[in-house]
Amino acid sequence: MPRTANNRRNVSEDEDDEDYTEASQSSQARQAAANDAQIMERKVGELVQYFLIMEQNKIPIKRGDISRNVLKDYKSIFQEVLMKAKESLSNIFGFEMVEVEHSSAKTKTKMYFLLNKLDSELREDLVEISSENPKNALLWIVLAIIFMNESVISETQLWQALQKLGLPQDEKNHPVFGDLKRLITVEFPRQLYLECTRVPSTDPASFEFRWGERATAEVDKEKLLHMVTEIYGNNMTPQSWRTQYREVQLWRQEKGLADEPMEQDG
C-alpha cells in the first residue's frame, strides 16, 4: 500500500474543486465523511506497517508510541484504528495482536505485540531466514529453566546453570551473544520475554527471574515440557514432572484445548 505524505492534501484539494460546483451542505457533510474514511484507512494502513516493522526487534509497542508515531494529529480515533489494524493483521498476515498490561515499579502500561496464528506444524515447511536463531536458543533455555524450576529462579541459580554452558555472567564479548548480562537482564526483559524482579527484603539486593508477558502469550508450554523431558532424560516422562505437567494442563484449558492426556508421547 503506497502512501505518500501529501496524500491528504491532494485528496482535499480535489474535492474542494468539486465542491465549488455544488456547494450544498449535504455534499459538504458527505465529503467530510469521505475524508474521515480516507484518514481512517490511511492510519490503519500505517499502523499495520508500524506493527510489522516494530516486530523486528520484538520490543512491544506502547500506547504512546502509536499515538506519537502513527496517529499524530488523530489521537481521538485511537481505539477504532487499533481494532481495524488488529483485523487486518489477523486476516491478511495471520498475526494476532496481543494487548498486555505491563506493570513496572509504579506504573501500568498497555503494550502490544504480534504473535503468529499459524500452528508450528504448518510453519514447519516455511523457509525462514533468521539470524535470530542463536538468541532464540538461549532464550528457550532460560525460559525452560524457569518453567521447570516452578516458574521462578534466582539470579544466582540461573547464572550457575548458564555458566555450565560456557556463558559466564561477566562475559562482555561472547562470540555469539555479545554482552550476556545485558541480553539476559535488559534485552529479554524489554521484549517482555523475561521479568526480572528484586526479591523483597534482601540486602544486598538479589533478583529473580520469571516469564514475561510475551513468553506467557507466545510459548507452547506443552511442547516445551516435552522437549525438556527429552533432553533431560533420567527416565523422566512429561507426566512425572508433576507440577509442570499440571501447569501444562492448566495452560491447555486456558487455550480452550481439550483436556487431552499426553500419554501417547510418554
Binding site: K164, P168, V176
Partner: protein, 304 residues
Amino acid sequence: MEDPGGDPNRRRQIRHEYRDLILQLSQQEGENAESLSKTLATADKLYEEVLKTKSAREAALDAAFLRTASTLTYQNAQKLIVDNKFEPKVFSEKLVTLLMGRRTEPNSRTQREVAIKKEAWSRFGKDVNSCFRRAPPFHFMLGSFDRGPPIKKVKNTSIPKKPEGQGPTVRPNEIKETNKSQQEVTSEEVERMLGILHQLVRGDDDPVSFFDFVVNPQSFSHTIENIFHMSFLVKDGHVKIELDDDGLPVIYRSKPFDPQEHRGEVPRKQLILSMDMEEWKEIVEVFEITEPLIPPRVTSPKKR
C-alpha cells in the same frame, strides 16, 4: 477508641519480646525447621496474652512476625529438594552434551572449555522455534535504510534565529596579544630595552645615566616598569650599574655572565631601589628629563 486493658508495663514487655522474635527469625535463614517451629510456638503463647488485652499495637506486631515467618518458610520450601526436583545444572550439562555433539565427563572439563559453536546454537534455535508462536519479522527484500545513530535533540534555546536580510557578520578583530602570558611580555620588553641601550652606548666603557635611561617624565608607572625590566638585565649580566664620581648611578654595557669563566662561588648581591611618586617628580625636575629614552611600549588601549 476502646482503651486496651492490661498492665502497660507487661504490654511493653510483650512488644519487646515480639521484636526479639522477629530479629531471631531474620537470623534463622537456612536453619532447620525445628528452631523455626520453636519460635512460632513462643509467638503463639505471646499472642494468647495479646488476645486478652485486645490491644492493636501488639496484634500488629504479631502480624509482622507472621509475615516474616511465612517469607522464611517459603524460602526454605524453595530450597527443599524433592525427589524429582528439576536441577538447572543437570539440565545445562545435558544441553552441553547435546550442543557439543559428544559425551564428556562433566567433571573433566573446566568452564572455559565449553565453547559451543554458533552453528550449534543456530541449529538448536531452529529446533526450539516450534515452541514459540513467533511472528516472523517483516523485512524489506533489499533491506531498509539503516536507522543510524539516534538524532540528538537540539535545544531551541541554544541559538536564537538570525533575522533574515542581515548583513555579513561583523567580527571584532582578534587580539593576539592577550594570549601572551605575562612572562612572554616581560621578556620581550627586556629585550627591547637592551636593544635601546645598545643604540645609546657605543662601547662597554660608555656609561649612561641610570635616571636618564629609566625615567619616563610623563609616566610614573612606566618608570617603575622600566626599573623592573632593568633588573632582569642586571641579573643576567647584560648591564652593570655603578656609581659615578658624583655618586649617581650609571649604566654600563656588560657581557653576560659565563659560568665557564668563574669557578667556585660567585657572590650574589642584591640591591633594593625605592622610588616613590615624590622622588620621581624631583628626579624629573633635577635631571631636566623631558623625553623618555625608552618609548612606552605599544599596548592595546583596552589592556590597561
